[in-house]
Symmetry: C2
Subunit: 197 residues, 2 copies
DNA sequence: TTTGTAATATGATGATGATCATATCAACGC
DNA sequence: GCGTTGATATGATCATCATCATATTACAAA
């Protein structure tokens, strides 16, 4: 080996990070290989030493996004009881910060409408990610003594994604805030996580 | 006038219909002007006699989608009391039929993640459409004696869009059905539209 | 039937972008 | 120091696509 053993590995990671951002920001079809490579500090030529095709890059980048956001979610809920954990997650997910960070936030919200247009393999990855998240939330609900935890968790995830998507569409920032706020409160209220309406 | 007075108008409508379908199916960036024209039974050359640019086509097509789906929503709820209307709308929105008809269904669900990447003008159109829908649902809730109708309606729209998006991502049809079903029931239950859980 | 012109078709043009072929460079072992 | 070779860079190529310039065509009116 001429270069450092990890050199190529590190480069691959840099490319993946750049791709993960660009794909969420611009959509899988608008990201250009050359652009991603430039963002990673490279030129387009080396690309095919790392990935067999752009499609493969997209798939790998999506996996990368899930790894990142799963870690963040865990971090968000870590060291808290089920109720506080759920509240923290809701507050994080429906925060202005998350809304404004499309390029580094939840891939499901960032790519909701791009996905049905992608390969089934990628969709499976996504469905898997969604299931894992639903399962985590469902456990917390069970710990709180809820009965219909599965449906409640699914419904919760749906509202989170929908509300974040809508908040990102709304150009008026006050109204966008109101969308986030409404869902934050409605969710907490109906899950018994908040005293007042 | 050489052609029929309505000829061009009719052609424009055909192009818009084709574009509205293609955009929802493939996303605004993957639809090609020539393809849309071909779908409308024409060749690409005449395009610029109807629209100044592709962007203008996209904007017009999105307006067209809203007109269509608003009419359908009205039809769905028409001649029913507020409770039955809401139930009918939920059942329609979260139906397998709607899930499988991405190219002719709700534009918000079909384009959720494409929108933040489009012009503010288009996003305003969308936010407007969402507001109108929320307002309609909110009225029905008020008629049923609900108090916090605004937040409830927003939350409902968010869950509808989120659940439909998730159902469209999930490649396994049984699991996809389960996503739709969970949200259908959760929504009706929490809005007091269904007797049993 | 002929004709003028709006509506449409045909055929460029230039830009962008995925992919590949070839050249250059970096750093490890000698 | 120097060559070897893996990692990147440079510079095509080919396809797709928006847009435009020019040619046809269809049909109302004469």
């Amino acid at each position: 080996m001429r270069y450092d053993t990890e050199h190529k590995q590190k480069t691959r990671t840099k490319v993946l990070q750049a791709a993960a951002k660009a794909i969420r920001a611009d959509g899988p079809h608008r990201v250009a290989v050359a652009g991603v490579m430039a963002d990673a500090g490279l030129t387009h030529g080396g690309f095919y030493a790392h990935f067999a095709s752009k499609d493969e890059l997209v798939a790998a980048a999506i996996e990368h996004m899930f790894d990142e956001t799963r870690a963040r979610a865990q971090h968000e809920m870590e060291g808290r009881g089920p109720a506080e954990g759920l509240v923290a997650y809701i507050d994080f997910y429906l925060s202005r910060k998350h809304r404004d960070a499309r390029d580094s936030g939840c891939p499901m919200a960032a790519l909701a409408s791009d996905l049905p247009r992608l390969d089934e393999a990628v969709r499976e990855q996504f469905a898997d990610g969604a299931s894992r998240l639903t399962a985590t939330l469902s456990e917390k609900l069970a710990a709180l003594g809820h009965v219909n935890v599965d449906a409640e968790a699914r419904s919760m995830v749906a509202e989170l994604i929908g509300a974040l998507s809508l908040a990102r569409i709304e150009p008026d920032s006050k109204r966008s805030d109101a969308i986030l706020s409404a869902s934050r409160h409605q969710l907490k209220e109906r899950l018994g996580l908040e005293a007042s309406a």
